[in-house]
């Protein structure tokens, strides 16, 4: 029997819905998921949201930890840019006119990018901690590599997706593909590339906080210590700092974006 496209799509939908339903039945709803003893702790945590610990000592710790977290995130993102921008440009294939060279190059670059990003930053962190010990280098590499893979992938798509007409005009003025790239493609893709990069910086701050659970210092590390001490007020102080950092990046990002969009 030949499957026509419409039937094929319907079949795929049915399979996906079935897989979803089946997965629901496979979650053990009874015992593990809802821990009734945990409800009390959750109540404690929730109620201390109004009583964050604002003592000077804790604030000092929070500021230092925020600084560490931001430093990891920024360093990680810098590495991610160094990986993602060149690979994104290569992976977009826009510099090649010859079609088979382009296809070969795009496929190769995309494979590398996929490898970088299909491994989660926590897994990279484990690997690098094994290799380099608990060092800032491990944290920066753990963030930079998967983020580089993600940035490269998104950049390559944004660079391909710009309007063709202005590029054609540059070519007909005698510009080579490289020049077309710098004077047309990149400027047109830049606002979206920047706003995605800022979004990734936000994610990077959250990831850097998580990575510090592994023992690399920073906000996550402080949160874990406070949780161990059952000092929920302190937990909230650190969480508020995390929220503030992410919001700051958000504001900064929209300011920059407003400046460069036409």
């Amino acid at each position: 029997m030949k499957i026509r496209p419409l039937e094929g799509r319907r079949l795929l939908t049915i399979i996906l819905v079935a897989a979803f339903a089946w997965s629901l039945f496979n979650v053990d709803w009874g015992s593990g998921l809802v821990n009734t003893g945990g409800l009390r702790a959750a109540g404690h945590i929730a109620s201390s949201i109004l009583r964050p610990d604002l003592s000077l000592d804790v604030l000092d710790k929070a500021i230092r930890a925020s600084w560490t977290t931001v430093a990891y995130a920024v360093a990680g993102l810098t590495l991610a840019l160094a990986i993602g921008f060149p690979l994104g440009v290569l992976g977009s294939g826009v510099l090649f006119r010859s079609s088979w060279l382009r296809r070969f190059n795009v496929a190769g670059t995309r494979l590398v990018l996929a490898f970088f990003r299909s491994i989660h930053e926590l897994v990279w962190a484990w690997l690098f901690v094994v290799a380099f010990g608990l060092s800032p280098l491990a944290a920066v590499l753990a963030l930079g590599i998967p983020y580089g893979g993600i940035l490269g992938r998104i950049y390559s798509e944004l660079l391909q997706d710009v309007p063709e007409a202005p590029l054609r005009a540059l070519r007909s003025a005698g510009a080579s593909e490289w020049r077309v790239f710098w004077f047309g493609r990149l400027p047109m893709a830049l606002p979206d590339m920047l706003s995605y990069t800022f979004y990734r910086l936000e994610c990077g701050i959250r990831s850097a906080a998580i990575l510090s659970f592994v023992g690399l210092g920073g906000l996550g590390f402080q949160i874990r210590i406070s949780l161990d001490d059952l000092a929920y007020g302190r937990v909230w102080t650190f969480l508020f700092f995390l929220i503030a950092l992410v919001s700051l990046v958000d504001v900064w990002s929209s300011m920059v974006r407003r400046r460069i969009t036409a």
Partner: protein, 263 residues
């Protein structure tokens, strides 16, 4: 270097454009029937005709952006098929479009200077991203099209008329012998359209360039161009000095009856 020195550095052969048996078919549609004509250097030619009559096709063939189904295009004595795309072609022919085709989020000045990209080395091009090179030349061109005060604004912020002026200024820096324009003012209001066409024709005449433009406005074409070519269903209906084109010829040109369907 000044604009004036650019323009004097290229001398035109007497014959700017020569078409012999040029035609184009898209599959079964003959967009342009075999066509032979010549355009003298410095002439200003308007191409008229209803939508779908083959005006854009003809201009794309002239610019080398489209290959013909048969025949050849010769620009200033050189057959277009023999020219390498890029710099060589850009010195002979430049084109402006209805939608201006500027890069919206770089400045008007940068857009104009992009007309020099064919001339610049890669290093100079990259430096120019930060410190615009040949700036006096770009400013002179912007002044000439009357938008010098807009130089630092992003092109996307400019009005339609201003954008088309910037596109013309970019062409001034590219400095091709032949200027093509595809309905350059179709998206502007009437007053603006008149101003921009006057500017385009004046600049072409002042610098001795050959101008070939498709036009949707018969009035503007008659008022400003030396010569009118009427296209209908890909076939030339008339090719005359503007003053000799009679009203009934134009009526017949745009008659809905017998027009091929456009899809």
């Amino acid at each position: 270097m000044s604009l004036a020195s650019l323009e004097s550095s290229r001398t035109e052969a007497a014959q700017a454009v020569s078409l012999s048996g040029l035609s184009k078919a898209y599959g079964p549609i003959e967009a342009l029937a075999p066509l032979s004509l010549t355009v003298a250097a410095g002439e200003t030619v308007a191409i008229l005709g209803p939508s779908g009559s083959g005006k854009t096709t003809l201009l794309l063939l002239l610019s080398g952006q489209l290959g013909p189904s048969s025949g050849a295009v010769t620009l200033v004595g050189r057959e277009i098929a023999q020219l390498s795309p890029g710099k060589e072609l850009a010195q002979l022919v430049g084109m402006i479009h209805q939608q201006f085709d500027l890069v919206p989020n770089i400045s008007a000045l940068h857009n104009v200077l992009a007309g020099r990209l064919g001339e610049w080395g890669l290093f100079k091009s990259l430096v120019s991203l930060v410190w615009p090179q040949d700036r006096p030349m770009g400013m002179e061109a912007l002044a000439r099209v009357g938008v010098a005060d807009r130089a630092e604004l992003r092109a996307g912020r400019l009005s339609g008329g201003e954008q088309q002026r910037v596109a013309i200024a970019r062409l001034l820096l590219q400095d091709p012998a032949i200027v093509l324009a595809d309905e350059p003012v179709a998206s502007l209001d009437q007053a603006r359209a008149g101003e921009v066409i006057r500017l385009l024709v004046r600049i072409a005449r002042d610098s001795g360039k050959t101008l070939i433009s498709s036009m949707h406005s018969v009035e503007l074409a008659r008022a400003h161009f030396d010569r009118l070519i009427g296209l209908r269903n890909g076939i030339v209906q008339f090719d005359l000095p503007s003053s000799q084109v009679a009203d009934d010829m134009l009526l017949a040109l745009y008659d809905i009856k017998g027009l091929r369907r456009e899809d």
